[in-house]
Symmetry: C2
Subunit: 173 residues, 2 copies
């Protein structure tokens, strides 16, 4: 269990979302409805909050996007986020750029390959998600909510940054 928490922490620290490895934890509440039943309209056009790279088994490069409510709050340096905030995490395979590798004789530039590790969202609604700190969590795999989406596991890890309203990401200006 400790290992699962640690792996989840690594995901959540960067994405603002956890639960990626939740299906393996044996504690899934797979019967609960996902926080979102469909991918948010236009999410791929949302402004960027920040970027990150995960080493180890995740081995991806990622972007954190936010809807208008999220972006406004981040830019104002919010310590709590209003209802309606949605934070999304996209990830791609971590690829050495071949042209760069050839020029240097060693990997130098790393770029985004095919999508990887699903698309994750955390949604703020203080009443609806009262049992998980006011945030709902969901992961989409191939455009559909994943059975791996586990708000309880997400919440457990996000509690590490409870003083930042459970959000790990910081805005990159």
């Amino acid at each position: 269990m400790k290992q699962i928490i640690v792996v989840s922490l690594a995901v959540g620290l960067v994405t603002g979302l956890v639960g990626y490895n939740a299906a393996a934890s044996g504690g899934a509440d797979e019967g609960s409805a996902p926080a979102l039943s469909e991918l948010p309209a236009g999410y791929r056009d949302w402004p960027l909050i920040t970027v990150a790279h995960e080493e180890g088994k995740l081995n991806d490069i990622r972007a954190i996007l936010g809807n208008d409510i999220a972006i406004k709050a981040f830019r104002e340096g919010a310590t709590t986020y209003p209802d309606g905030t949605i934070i999304g995490r996209l990830a791609w395979d971590y690829h050495p750029l071949e042209e760069s590798k050839a020029a240097f004789g060693a990997p130098q530039s790393f770029v985004a390959g095919p999508p990887k590790n699903g698309v994750q969202f955390m949604i703020k609604d203080v009443k609806k998600y009262a049992s998980t700190g006011g945030w709902g969590y969901v992961e989409f795999d191939d455009g559909k909510p994943s059975a791996k989406a586990m708000p309880e596991a997400c919440f457990a890890c996000h509690s590490v940054v409870k003083d930042r309203d459970f959000v790990f990401s910081r805005y990159a200006p």
Copy 2:
């Protein structure tokens, strides 16, 4: 000169922009007007094209954004880009996330620190920038066009991907 070209290549391969190290090349045309005199309005809200990490001296994590014309072209799988296309590259210091490092006992998650290596843009205008493959190039440091911005050096490196209209970045879905 070879070393300078190689370093410039590393920047340009990922950013779609080169010229970062141009001031050291001894070939600067610092008297020419920058392709943009001011940062494009609202560029920080532009949708994401892709993300990348540069190792070595650059040691940054970066995002490539595009204006509406750019995004439309990328999503349509363009092999050439229309006039008015602007591609922007933002970069930040490459930071190990302390919470993650503490949990793992080693670096696992890497996130964006303070802005680094300027903000760069390439602007398509076939007639205006005919001498550099139809693209103008500019870097902003602290919000002002940098003397390091060298369209000739940018162009020299971008010629590596002449068959992709001098654009290194690929759209990350």
